[in-house]
C-alpha cells in the first residue's frame, strides 16, 4: 500500500518542530514500528518536497508491546507503534507525533522521567513483607503489568506535567503496593496517594480505554481508593 506519512519532526529540544510529509510503499500487515525501521534503513529517502528525510528518531525496545518505549501519537491517538498495524490507517494516511504532555527530546522521542519522579515522590514501594491474598494476587498481577508508557496521562484531562496530580501511571502501580499492605502498617503511600491522586482525579476514566496493556484501570482506581482513602485493606 502507498502511505502518505505526516510526521512532526524536531531536531532537538530547543528547535522548532516542523511537519514533514513522506510517501512510502509499505505492507498493510506491517506495524508503525516496522515502517519506521524500514524508513530508517532506506538509502537517501526524500520527502515530497525533495528534502532528505534522514534518520527519524524514535524509541523502541521489545517490539511486542511489553515495554512501553514506543508510545507516540498515531493518527491523533496515543498508542504503541509496535502494536499499531498500518491496515488501520484510513485512506492511506498516517500521522505521527510525539506525546504532547512530555518535553520533546527529538522527533518522536519524549522525556518521560517525570513519571519516575512522581512514583518516587508518592513513596511507591513496600516497607514491609508483602501481604498475599487471592484478591491481592489478581490485582497485583494486573497492576504490575503497567508499562509506564504514559498513554493514560496523554488523554487525562486533569494531568499536567507541572501539576501535582499524577494520574493512572501512578495509581496503577500504587494499587499493587496498597493491595499488599497490612492494615496496621499503612505506610506513607496512603497519605501521599490521597494528596497526589485521589484529590485530583475527576474519574472521567478517559485513561481506561486507552491503556495499551489492557489493564483494568478503572478497577485499579476503585481498589486503590478503597484502601488508601476508606482504609479497606485487603489484609484483615
Amino acid at each position: 500500500m502507498k502511505l502518505t506519512i505526516d510526521i512532526l519532526r524536531q531536531k532537538d529540544s530547543a528547535s522548532v518542530p516542523y511537519k514533514q510529509i513522506i510517501e512510502f510503499e509499505a505492507l498493510p500487515e506491517d506495524t508503525v514500528a516496522t515502517l519506521l525501521n524500514k524508513i530508517n534503513a532506506s538509502d537517501d529517502l526524500r520527502d515530497i518536497n525533495g528534502n532528505p528525510v534522514g534518520i527519524i528518531h524514535w524509541q523502541c525496545s521489545c517490539l511486542q508491546k511489553k515495554c512501553g518505549a514506543c508510545a507516540m501519537r498515531i493518527n491523533g491517538t496515543p498508542a504503541l507503534a509496535c502494536d499499531t498495524k498500518l491496515s488501520t490507517c484510513k485512506r492511506g494516511k498516517l500521522s505521527l507525533e510525539p506525546l504532547r504532555k512530555f518535553p520533546t527530546v527529538r522527533d518522536l522521542i519524549v522525556d518521560r522521567s517525570l513519571m519516575m519522579d512522581n512514583l518516587r515522590s508518592i513513596h511507591n514501594w513496600l516497607e514491609q513483607t508483602a501481604h498475599h491474598s487471592k484478591k491481592a494476587a489478581e490485582l497485583s498481577y494486573d497492576a504490575s503489568r503497567c508499562l509506564q508508557c504514559g498513554c493514560c496521562l496523554e488523554v487525562c484531562p486533569n494531568f499536567m506535567p507541572d501539576g501535582d496530580f499524577y494520574g493512572a501511571a501512578a495509581f496503577v502501580p500504587a494499587s499493587r503496593i496498597l493491595a499488599q499492605l497490612k492494615k496496621n502498617n499503612p505506610q506513607e503511600l496512603t497519605a501521599l496517594y490521597q494528596k497526589n491522586i485521589y484529590g485530583g482525579c475527576g474519574k472521567s476514566l478517559s485513561c481506561h480505554n486507552i491503556c495499551p496493556a489492557g489493564i483494568d484501570v478503572e478497577q485499579k482506581l476503585s481498589n486503590a481508593n478503597a484502601i488508601a482513602v476508606w482504609k479497606r485493606f485487603f489484609s484483615s
Partner: protein, 518 residues
C-alpha cells in the same frame, strides 16, 4: 566511592539493591529506564528447588540438570552457589510482592525443558515483568534516599581501562548529548548480544552488544561466544522473532511434523523420558533434522489443543492472547506453526565465580557475562542467574571498593557514535546466514570473508567495534572443532572430551582455558 552499574535489567537492579542494602552508593546507568529492559519480556519462569510439588526435589538435582544441560561446560562451583541460593531468591521475590501461584505447600512450580522435576516458579507467562516490577519498586526506595542514583537515558561512551585496571566510565546522556565521567569500579549488566543479530532474536533492540564490543576493544576477555541459543518455538513477526514460551510445552504442548501426511510426534518417539521438554539445543537441532527429511513437511507445529481449560485460564491466558494477536490463530483450538529463533547468548564477558572479569575493578553479571550456563542454558535459569550474579558481583565489588588507585583524571575519549541501521543490518545478515544451528568450516570462513568486505564500510568507532565482535564470534565458532550443546558442527559432529574447556577471545587471539581456572 559510588560503584557504577551499566544496565538496569534484573542483573543491574539486583546489584544496585545489594549494594544499597549494605549502605554502598551506586550510579545505575541504562540506555532506557528499567521498564524497557529485556528482563520484562521473560515469560516462563525462574528455577529454584522449592520442593512444593511432592516430587522429592533436591538442590543437587538442580545442579546436576544445569551441568548436564550445559554439556559439562559450566563452572560447577559457581552453579552450586546459584542453585543453593535459588530458593532464598524466589522467596525474597514473594516477600517483595510477586504474585506467584501458590498451593497448600507454597509456591507452585511447573515443568520446564531439561529438568526432570517441576522446579520453575512462575506468574502466568509474565514472570519477568512481575520480578522487574518488584525490584523496580524496591530500588525506588533507595533512589529516594539518594543511595541509588539513576541515569536512565544514558549509554556507555567509554570504559576507562589502563594497564588492565578499570578506572571508571564515561557515559552520554542520549537526551542532551552531554558526556559525564564517573571514577570507580564498574559492574557491567548490559544484557545479551542481540545487536549482532538484528531482527533475528526474540529479545530487545536495546541490547546492542556495544558494551561487550567495547570490552573486546579494551582487551577484556570474552568467552564462549559460539554458544548461541536457538529457542525451538518462535514465530516471525514484523521486525523480530516472537517467543512461544517453553511454558507451552511445560504445560503439555506437543511438537509434531507431518510425515507422509500424518502427524509425527518426533520428540516423544525419540526421547521417551523428557519428550518435548529436552534441552533447547536438542529440540532445535531435531527440528532442523525432521524438516529436512524428504518424507516430512518443511514445517513443525506446536499442538496445545490437549491442554486443560483450567490451565489455559490460570497459567497461559497471556500466552494465548499473544498468539491470537500475532497469528490470528487460537492455540486452544489449532496447532500453531513454529520454528527455531535466536534467544539467548551463553557466551559474553568472561567472569570467574565471584564475577571478576579479566580486568581489575571491572565485574559483569546477567546475560552479558559468561557464567552458569555452559554450552546451553536451561529455561528458567537465566532470570535466576541474572539476579544471583548481580548480587555476587555487587558483593565482590563492594569488598574491593575503595582499594583501587584513583587517577587524577580520566583520559579524553572519542565522542559517542552509533551503529547505523544499514550497517547493523548487513552484519546481522552475514551472521544470521552462517552462524546457524548447524555450522561448518566452509560456512564460517565465508562469514569471515563477508565481514572482511564490510571493513571499509565501517564509518565510526561503534561500527568498527561491532565488526570486531562479529569476527570474534565467528572465530570462536571456528576454533571449537567439536559439537556440544548449542554449537553443532556438521564437520565435527562428535563431542570431544579434549574440548571440555572455555573458548577465550582476547583482542584477536582465541584460545582454550580450563574451566574454573585463570
Amino acid at each position: 566511592m559510588r560503584i557504577n552499574i551499566i544496565g538496569a535489567g534484573l542483573a543491574g537492579l539486583s546489584a544496585a539493591i545489594t549494594l544499597a542494602e549494605n549502605g554502598v552508593k551506586s550510579n545505575l546507568i541504562s540506555s532506557m529506564q528499567s521498564e524497557r529492559a529485556q528482563s520484562v519480556m521473560a515469560e516462563g519462569g525462574i528455577n529454584a528447588c522449592l520442593n512444593t510439588m511432592g516430587e522429592d526435589d533436591a538442590v543437587e538435582n538442580h545442579i546436576e540438570d544445569t551441568i548436564r544441560g550445559g554439556v559439562n561446560l559450566a563452572d560447577k562451583s559457581a552453579v552450586q552457589g546459584l542453585c543453593e541460593n535459588a530458593p532464598e531468591i524466589v522467596k525474597n521475590f514473594y516477600n517483595l510482592g510477586v504474585p506467584f501461584q501458590t498451593n497448600e505447600n507454597g509456591i507452585v512450580q511447573r515443568n520446564f525443558g531439561g529438568q526432570k522435576k517441576k522446579r520453575t516458579a512462575f506468574v502466568k507467562s509474565s514472570t519477568g515483568k512481575m520480578l522487574m516490577t518488584a525490584l523496580i519498586d524496591a530500588a525506588r526506595r533507595y533512589e529516594a534516599e539518594g543511595i541509588i542514583k539513576r541515569y536512565p537515558h544514558h549509554v556507555l561512551q567509554a570504559l576507562h581501562i589502563q594497564d588492565n585496571k578499570c578506572q571508571g566510565v564515561t557515559v552520554t546522556d542520549t537526551h542532551t548529548g552531554d558526556s559525564i565521567s564517573f571514577f570507580g569500579s564498574v559492574i557491567l549488566a548490559s544484557g545479551g548480544m542481540n545487536g549482532l543479530f538484528d531482527g533475528l532474536t526474540t529479545g530487545t533492540t536495546q541490547n546492542t552488544a556495544d558494551v561487550t564490543a567495547m570490552c573486546l576493544e579494551n582487551g577484556v576477555e570474552l568467552a564462549n561466544l559460539e554458544f548461541i541459543q536457538y529457542h525451538p518455538t518462535t514465530i516471525a513477526i514484523p521486525g523480530k522473532r516472537l517467543l512461544i514460551s517453553e511454558a507451552a510445552r511445560g504445560e503439555g504442548g506437543r511438537l509434531f511434523v507431518n510425515r507422509n501426511g500424518k502427524p509425527w510426534y518426533f520428540m516423544e518417539e525419540k526421547y521417551p523420558e523428557l519428550k518435548n521438554l529436552m534441552p533447547r539445543d536438542v529440540v532445535s537441532a531435531e527440528i532442523v533434522e525432521v524438516t529436512s527429511m524428504p518424507e516430512c513437511e518443511n514445517q513443525v507445529y506446536l499442538d496445545m489443543t490437549g491442554i486443560d481449560k483450567k490451565v489455559w485460564k490460570t497459567r497461559l491466558s497471556d500466552l494465548r492472547e499473544q498468539v491470537i494477536h500475532y497469528l490470528a490463530l487460537d492455540p486452544m483450538k489449532k496447532p500453531i506453526p513454529v520454528s527455531p529463533g535466536i534467544h539467548y547468548f551463553m557466551g559474553g564477558v568472561w567472569v570467574d565465580s565471584e564475577h571478576h572479569t579479566s580486568a581489575e575493578n571491572l565485574y559483569a553479571a546477567g546475560e552479558c557475562a559468561c557464567q552458569y550456563h555452559g554450552a546451553n542454558r536451561l529455561g528458567g535459569n537465566s532470570l535466576l542467574g541474572a539476579v544471583y550474579g548481580g548480587k555476587i558481583a555487587a558483593l565482590t565489588a563492594m569488598k574491593e571498593n575503595g582499594k583501587q588507585e584513583v587517577p587524577a583524571e580520566l583520559k579524553r575519549v572519542q565522542s559517542y557514535s552509533e551503529v547505523t541501521p544499514l550497517f547493523r543490518n548487513s552484519v546481522s545478515q552475514i551472521l544470521g546466514n552462517h552462524l546457524k544451528i548447524l555450522r561448518n568450516e566452509d560456512d564460517l570462513n565465508k562469514a569471515l570473508d563477508e565481514l572482511d568486505l564490510m571493513q571499509n564500510k565501517a564509518a565510526n568507532p561503534a561500527e568498527i567495534r561491532l565488526l570486531g565482535l562479529a569476527k570474534a564470534t565467528v572465530n570462536c565458532a571456528l576454533f571449537r572443532k567439536e559439537s556440544r550443546g548449542a554449537h553443532r558442527r556438521t564437520d565435527y559432529p562428535e563431542t570431544n572430551p579434549d574440548c571440555q574447556k572455555q573458548t577465550i577471545v582476547k583482542n584477536t587471539k582465541v584460545f582454550f582455558r580450563e574451566i574454573n581456572q585463570l
